[in-house]
Symmetry: C2
Subunit: 175 residues, 2 copies
Amino acid sequence: MNLEPTAERFILHWGEMGTRWGINRTVAQIHALLYLSDKPLPADEIAATLAVARSNVSTSIRELQSWGIVRTVPVMGDRRDHFQTLTDVWEMFRIIMDERKKREIDPTLTVLRQCVQEIDEKKKADPNTAKRLHEMLEFVESMTGFYSTVRGLPVPAMARFVKMGKRIPKLLNLN
Amino acid sequence: MNLEPTAERFILHWGEMGTRWGINRTVAQIHALLYLSDKPLPADEIAATLAVARSNVSTSIRELQSWGIVRTVPVMGDRRDHFQTLTDVWEMFRIIMDERKKREIDPTLTVLRQCVQEIDEKKKADPNTAKRLHEMLEFVESMTGFYSTVRGLPVPAMARFVKMGKRIPKLLNLN
DNA sequence: CAGTAATTTCAGTAATGACTGAAAGGAATG
DNA sequence: CATTCCTTTCAGTCATTACTGAAATTACTG
């Protein structure tokens, strides 16, 4: 299987961007490949296309599955697993955000709450540290609250919301 | 300089979270330390507190400065540079988002636009690839549009907006 | 313009993370 | 139930990134 130059370009770029977000380059490349593909792909084909080891694909697919954005589809007359990713970008975004929140924000919330509690209990704590931790906690809580509201919208409403863009400040009487 | 246990806890956690976001652990720890500190700190003190090499602090501070969230303050009677970070979490958030956008989203936009253009020109391109790239481009453009609107709000308005939370869908007639 | 203090650079080393090939494990087929 | 095909696991290797200490540079002071 050989790639169109445009597809290759996108896949390579996606891989590089992945590394900046703490996502393994190969994992991101596989994701990009599946996103562009019009049909589910078996592991060996992915390996050949991206020129990586078959075992590497196996591990990376696992990672993508743990994120919930890749699943297996059976193909009639073929014993191999075939993999496909979501095609709805909004849906994909939502799933990824959920997962990132779970992995990166929720633990922080837990720690922040514990820290704030600890500090509020023993009175001789440094007042400055206390203030900063309170502020940080309040910030993270506001943000996650906002996120969970948006996240709760059905995809079309979410898309409409995002696309409202410049009209939002007026509609909500901000600034 | 020795840390309160709560502060230490927060700093260590912040460091770990940093690594998940592609930020060097030490860089994130220094940031956390400066955030909690009530006064600007000189490099050697940071090094001692976090038990890392002085030179490591130098490199990390540079990194934080390149993000625009740490700056040097002169201290009367002390020849050493003292460093401090922003204390307003909303402001800090905005600066970090700007920087991430510049480093991680804008290059993607460029590539996506080039890809879409390339594909639209030569007619024999795979229609599926074309569709997916168009959708992705539209998505990223919507998101950056939304972001730039919010980003344009003065900090207090931005905070109000985020804190509106659950009332937003009704106010905007979503869902 | 020494002499001292602070900072940055850099080359080497340590630590971490990614990738591979070989081998083991599982499922379908004759 | 043995063979084949496919997938996963894992130990070892390779590559990348982080960290350090020494040396070079820069900035201050008397």
